[in-house]
Symmetry: C2
Subunit: 345 residues, 2 copies
């Protein structure tokens, strides 16, 4: 059934005998039009093939109904889960999400920000690339739009809203658990791709000192692997294990993907990390990556409350959108992590 294609509201108006402004009001909100007209329009639309022109509609409204989201990396289930929760929250609020991935390239991140400005999105949520990023990009967005940073917080930036996990708390919880149940953990760092890397490392050190243990950090110097976290964890521990070191240690990995690499290293050396064996090898992670329950052994970790972070980011953004003018106060929302005790530690 090839319905006749109609390209403008003008034509549509002629086709179904309703004035164009009425159609305009109908497409924005059918409730703004009388019952009888709604009926007439609805019946008319069934007979033709028409979609309002997105650009033309958005150009004149003060609001575009779009929010822009930038994430640094797609091939990471943590970010995809974050993105999913943002999309759900935004959809519920009637907003369209435009996602751009910076592919761990500051240039692309910058371009994405320009795209958002040029599309006059109502607001932007950004999970920063990390230490290679151009801070001016964030400052620029923050100055011109309702803007919320997410997941990882650049220290130089103040006056910016932020939503993320309280790493002092989350890393503290698992560090404390490991200390309580077995030998004090060593920290296997992740490549310093973003600010969380150092935050977690520092949180570990602080907690250890508080508990009266000596913090030990390994794997912080290697930066070759960038976002290849599993390879990083595997390489560092393979090196250690083959020198006969750390064979009976507790190892807290900076994130679960590093930990998955660590588990692999253990397996290759015939080691079986486990919670039950006091004094033996233990491996723990951070984030609660979706695959944690399926590794062997299942990975003990701290869950980030991804759903809450995404929801809070959207909530805060929309709050700023509806505020008359840029209010001066900036909020920092930190979510607690939840310990997930499984088998590996």
């Amino acid at each position: 059934m090839p319905k006749p294609e109609i390209h403008t509201m003008e034509e549509l108006s002629a086709a179904i005998g309703v004035s164009r402004p009425t159609l305009s009001r109908y497409f924005q909100d059918p409730a703004k039009v009388s019952r009888s007209s709604v009926e007439r329009i609805r019946r008319g639309l069934e007979k033709v093939d028409y979609t309002p022109n997105f650009f033309a509609t958005r150009m004149n409204r003060k609001t575009t109904g779009m929010i822009g989201v930038i994430i640094p990396y797609l091939n990471d289930l943590f970010f995809t889960r974050l993105l999913e929760s943002i999309e759900r929250a935004a959809m519920k609020a009637g907003y369209t999400v435009i996602t751009q991935c910076s592919h761990s390239d500051p240039e692309i991140e910058k371009r994405a920000a320009e795209t958002f400005l040029s599309m006059s999105v109502d607001g932007a949520i950004v999970a920063p690339l990390g230490n290679h990023s151009d801070m001016r990009v964030y400052e620029r967005l923050n100055a011109r739009l309702p803007f919320v940073l997410m997941d990882s917080r650049p220290k130089p930036l103040t006056d910016v809203d932020f939503v993320g996990t309280d790493h002092v708390q989350s890393t503290g919880v698992i560090t404390e658990y490991l200390c309580r149940v077995g030998s004090p953990p060593i920290f296997l760092a992740m490549p310093r791709v973003n600010f969380n890397a150092l935050e977690r490392e520092n949180a570990y050190v602080a907690k250890m000192e508080l508990l009266g243990f000596e913090p030990v950090v390994i794997g912080a110097e290697v930066v070759r692997q960038e976002w290849h976290f599993e390879a990083h964890g595997l390489a560092v521990l393979n090196d250690q294990f083959s020198k006969g070191r750390l064979l009976e240690s507790s190892i807290l990995c900076a994130n679960d993907r590093v930990a998955i690499g660590a588990l692999r290293a253990a397996a290759q050396h015939g080691l079986e990390p486990g919670a039950l064996r006091r004094g033996g090898l233990r491996i723990a992670g951070h984030d609660d990556y979706p695959l944690c329950p399926y590794t062997t052994p299942a990975l003990t970790t701290v869950a980030q409350n991804v759903a809450a972070i995404g929801q809070a980011a959207v909530d805060r953004l929309l709050e700023k959108c509806s505020a008359e003018k840029q209010s001066g106060n900036h909020a920092i929302t930190l979510m607690d992590g939840v310990l997930k005790i499984r088998e590996s530690a």
Copy 2:
């Protein structure tokens, strides 16, 4: 340095003393403007803060420079890798990618398609949701835009370009390998969320019959878990193992995520699947999920050529975009899978 904000080309024209049409040409292609003007404009732009309005620019051009991509599911590294390769290919060609995720909901998928039509994207690439999808959505897109289907191909649709893996070849290769090196494999199906599920199943059956073995398919009836593939694999094999069945079988899983669940089930029952133990338990997958090298044991699988699929989809789409009119011939591009022999089978 808070540069003065300028919102229209008109203002910009007044600010730097160059006519508006010249600015328009400059922003489309600086080469269309004389050297001296380029210099003047460039210097002027450094002193003010201006970004052309995306909607206004795109509204009048015949081409928007955008391509729309729909994927069914975000929390799956296969799709994110596909998406990444598409984004890279599109970026190289100077196109902006607008991604929408259907979150395994036909309604959202439909809405995403409408969004693309309304934004008049130059073309659309869609990885179909699956058997719940409304085929008319694809037909509609195909009728009105340069359109390419990707990854999974709905049988009812003809006259549509498609790019994906040749599952007869890929599944055939690993089936043949498993038969050659050990006992003929059983097929652990995945939930029938898309058309690949059945294609692989059929390819397995055909190959087995060709080799003179009896095909056995399990796990096809369970549909509760939908996209929770790992949970599906785990549940089905836990059930089998605890009944003492399949303990020494070769098991070909419909995809790697199912296989990861299968590995977990094996571990829980103290089983160690492995390539070297003829006659013992073996587990293999399909796709070469990025985590395959890090599972214990490392998962033997068939790699889909994700990069090639993404590139081919974009190539084909742009080819259709530049073609004067809709040419009648439709291409089906199938990529070969590559066997990745690791430890598990």
